[in-house]
Symmetry: C2
Subunit: 197 residues, 2 copies
């Protein structure tokens, strides 16, 4: 059964998932389908115009400490970015093109590391371009297609599909009609996918 | 280092923790300090007059399915209660008295099971009384002390302390100044406590 990994590049907990999803999926013989989407429009539907971690500062301070501890457990060199949330629109559009090139498993963690380990502003095309180049992907071509109307429309449709599936945060995982929310559910969701034919 | 388990009897995820905290703590040589508190006053401070799971129905539907799956993994016979959230005020006051009697490790999971497995209304003194009696605790005496002004005041103070520690949900765990939120952090918090002298 297909395992779909729904992520938003602004999301700290999606970073923790992106670092480990391929290894855990492979161990279970599960293939990861990458589903970039945007949380902004979904939060707006809940009356939130900013990340809940900014709207509720007490949750925000907790989140930064929690992500730091969890990254430490993974041996990852997390650094709190100087801006949050970072606009992941361009990187998400480029993710759709990178996926067409079969490069999601390399591109997605590279974007997260740029944002959450190197404090780079992934909303800038120069930053996304540098990431693509470092992965030996055709940066100018990918960015050109990323900004084309068909790709913009695909991202809008994928965000609408996420909302239709009941997704309200990132990362989320779907296996058929079953929804799992949060980096903490990664193993459970993968196990679910591995059990189904 | 003391491991403090902060719980609210209305909280579904605290139920999942209550079922397993003693066994996991014992395996690590950690002693559990039980800290009942009320989430209502804390949610009010965030502008919420109801459980976030009722305020955001899409999160609510997800939560019920998630708790069901997690309870199934634990082999627990979870049943969605006919009312949510249930008022846990009386049961929380009685928890302070039960703790004085050294009975938290038996009383706390028994209250959660009554609410989330037997669909009993734990806001009723007859229900709390039945639970106390089944544990061979002096029900009338415990309930009398639970409703006394000093115990009411202790619960108010404990809720204020929770808020002061940055607690915004349940279950939460504290080890010194370190805060952990959610049933998913139980193991990490216990490991933290076990590492400290």
């Amino acid at each position: 059964m297909a395992f779909e990994f729904w992520f938003e590049f602004a999301s700290t907990y999606s970073y923790l998932t992106a670092l480990r999803v391929e290894e855990l999926a492979e161990a279970r013989g599960v293939r990861v389908v990458y589903r970039p989407f945007l949380l902004g429009p979904i939060f707006k539907g809940h009356g939130l115009n900013d990340s809940p971690f900014n709207v509720y500062p007490v949750k925000g301070s907790y989140m930064w400490r929690d992500v730091e501890r969890c990254a430490h457990e993974l041996g990852a060199s997390f650094r709190r970015p100087s801006a949050f949330p970072r606009n992941g629109l361009l990187a998400a559009r480029a993710a759709l093109v990178a996926d067409d090139l079969g490069a999601s498993a390399r591109y997605v963690p590279a974007v997260y590391r740029a944002s959450f380990e190197r404090d780079l502003d992934i909303s800038q095309s120069s930053v996304v371009s540098e990431i693509l180049t470092s992965l030996e992907l055709p940066a100018a071509d990918v960015l050109g297609r990323a900004q084309s109307e068909p790709v913009r429309q695909r991202l809008r449709e994928q965000t609408a599909r996420a909302e239709g599936l009941g997704i309200f945060g990132a990362p989320s995982f779907t296996v058929g009609s079953e929804l799992f929310w949060g980096n903490d559910r990664l193993e459970q969701a993968l196990d679910w996918a591995a059990r189904l034919p």
